[in-house]
Subunit: 409 residues, 2 copies
């Protein structure tokens, strides 16, 4: 079960002026499942995004990037689950384009004004006819109050839907931000089988919106890992409709930009952490903090070495303070001149290791106490600089293997 993560409450998800959402059953992989989502945007809405860096990126990722580059003004996003349209070659590109064309026909816009997204099994041909057949129902379903159902429609192996709203006052104007995300496996920095859609009614100019979404991703979705696998399909999209009374934000250093950056990042961190809390088979949510490094690169190297280690992750699953495994991971992280005798390792508030070994004050029962918690912080203090990094991950359980050994069946 997800670790300290409640499902969203429909009434707490706020509409974003200029955005409406329609859901339908397209029977893509299974019958009787809402597996198709259309997000329609008002005229003048702006969209920016960050995508997977996987070289085998999926066809919809390629097409979405092309369409964003055209800058024709995006009018809608279409998302299907049940099939990732990845590893599908030339046919996959045609299928992603056909999906856009079908929706463009219904909405009376150009194909290039549609962004396609897919998630699900890789290397199977996208059933475009089913999607095209489902689109009219999705369009007919369109409402600004559908965020809750949209968050459910994009789930794959997720147990709990992920959605949140936040309001913030900028220069006297109340601005709304609502976001949804999906993903629970194949989660790694530079995106994951992770789809995230965040919309605000603030107006934010291009290319500032692109800069904003990149900053947001680097502090949220790019700081999580479940299993180290980077998906072919990941995307985080940020929509700014400009429907609020706030004047369009055009300068990165402005007061309004700063408030929006913090608020949108907060929404994104909630969604990113929710993905880890719902990580496949997760029983513990682990925050890895690496402090006092010379640069972000070495902090992240050490953080990811810990967060990816199957030995560390299984020890946390067992609630076993086998903390030498964390030391081993720090040691092989690839920071060649690391002085292991100079660092401290903490488990929450408990000093575990210093001077290259077990801390004199460390008692096994203190480690055991922290390991019983469902939220745990591993803190490594390197004492060689002033840079910090924080990552979020989960443990590694029988259920991870079970879910991934049977995902297709």
């Amino acid at each position: 079960m997800p670790v300290n993560l409640n499902p969203p409450v429909a009434a707490q998800l706020l509409p974003v002026a200029g955005v409406s959402l329609g859901i339908a059953e397209a029977n893509i992989k299974r019958e009787n499942r809402r597996d198709l989502l259309v997000i329609q945007l008002c005229d003048g809405a702006r969209v920016a995004g960050v995508f997977t860096k996987n070289r085998f990126c999926a066809a919809p990722v390629i097409v979405a990037k092309e369409h964003l580059d055209k800058a024709d003004g995006i009018r809608a996003l279409v998302v299907n689950t049940g099939n990732a349209n990845a590893g599908t070659g030339e046919q996959g590109l045609q299928d992603a384009r056909s999906t856009c064309a079908a929706l463009a026909g219904l909405l009376g816009c150009k194909s290039t004004q549609i962004l396609p997204f897919s998630t699900g099994v890789i290397m199977e041909i996208l059933p475009v006819a089913k999607i095209a057949a489902g689109l009219p129902a999705a369009v007919a379903n369109m409402s600004s109050d559908n965020w809750f159902y949209a968050s459910q429609a994009i789930m794959t192996t997720d147990i709990v839907a992920k959605a949140i709203s936040k309001q913030v006052v900028v220069d006297g104007v109340t601005v709304t931000i609502t976001g949804i995300a999906k993903g629970s496996g194949m989660i790694h920095p530079n995106m994951a089988t992770m789809l995230g859609y965040i919309a605000t009614d603030a107006g934010i100019a291009q290319p500032l919106l692109q800069e904003l979404v990149t900053q947001v991703a680097n502090r949220s979705f790019n700081c999580i890992t479940v299993d180290g696998d980077t998906s072919t399909n990941d995307a985080l999209m940020l929509i700014a409709t400009g429907k609020s009374a706030l004047p369009e934000v055009t300068v990165a250093g402005s007061h309004a930009y700063g408030i929006l950056l913090e608020a949108i990042t907060e929404v994104a961190i909630f969604l990113a952490q929710a993905i880890v809390r719902d990580g496949e088979g997760a029983t513990k949510f682990i925050t890895v903090v690496v402090e006092g490094g010379r640069d972000e690169d070495e902090c992240k190297k050490i953080g990811y070495a810990i967060a990816h280690s199957p030995l560390v992750k299984t020890a946390f699953f067992a609630s076993d303070p086998n903390l030498g495994r964390i030391l081993a991971a720090i040691g092989y992280a690839g920071v060649d001149d690391l002085d292991v005798a100079a660092l401290q390792l903490y488990l929450d508030d408990v000093l575990v290791a210093e001077n290259g070994g077990r801390a004199a004050t460390y008692q096994e029962e203190d480690g055991q106490r922290v390991m019983q918690q469902s939220d745990i912080t591993i803190r490594v203090v390197l004492n060689r600089g002033h840079v910090n990094a924080t990552l979020w991950t989960c443990d590694f359980s029988y259920d991870y293997v079970k879910i991934n050994a049977s995902y297709r069946s």
Copy 2:
């Protein structure tokens, strides 16, 4: 159970002139277990080794390197299981030195002529008194016929002991090579919780012996991975006693060197593969071949991305040809200019993917057939150069989690 790996047969393990081995019960972690091994060498025997690159390397690794650097002539190696003496700081160094001193006292040599090795739990203090108390029995047990028992004494979570002998004729002289190894988890390139000891009665000069063991490791132990964790304690030691009639080998390019390199590499590959076949929870032995790369680095990057992917490994456990997961791993391996449309992916003889997607000829039942096997080869043909690399790994099962969630209890 280990994948296609039989236990060694005592009668097939050949003594190596100049090497004798003694085993004892020292009650290090448990009672009634042979957990202490002494390997005594004749005068004039030479030793070289490669060690873990983990910055948190264990105390015995540090001391063994120091003693090798002294070049006083190594007279014995001492190996304990049950405790890794890693993450033990200054106390750990003292303990490793005390162990050497105790054995040196019994053998009448200097401490610096002893190499210490430990394997087992990290971050617990080595019970030196127990080891010192066990050493006389190990010395009394000394015999050149003890390779079989030695291979058993160094096991930790291993299910099957790993040992092999080989004879080869060099310039008319029969040379014997016998090797043992242990390890089944925390296995990664640049060594693993892996200890390997290979001895030959050939004479090989220093520093040529060091060059030889490095070449051997790069083609064997540095090509395996179980879980991507690199241990604090790994070591591969190569002993050349010079007791055969073969003149000492002094030149890397010589005929004798070439024959010995191949024969010792063959022994090392057997032992390295045995470690993977006995990988924690393994049900399948997977060979990953990456062909047609521009350099070894990119071939290994792609090979390890596949071999480390929990999603790929769980799919193999499930015998599910969910081969898109392999494409995803190739895509995120970090080869930035990789043209995914130019490569082919094979599962044994079955062409699975080409032109960026599923091969037109690929039938799911062909993939299914190969996935039922216990030995499987994944072959990636990059078509961008002439360099190849081969790695060996195993799948990821419930039992991996079970073993590592309960190792200390």
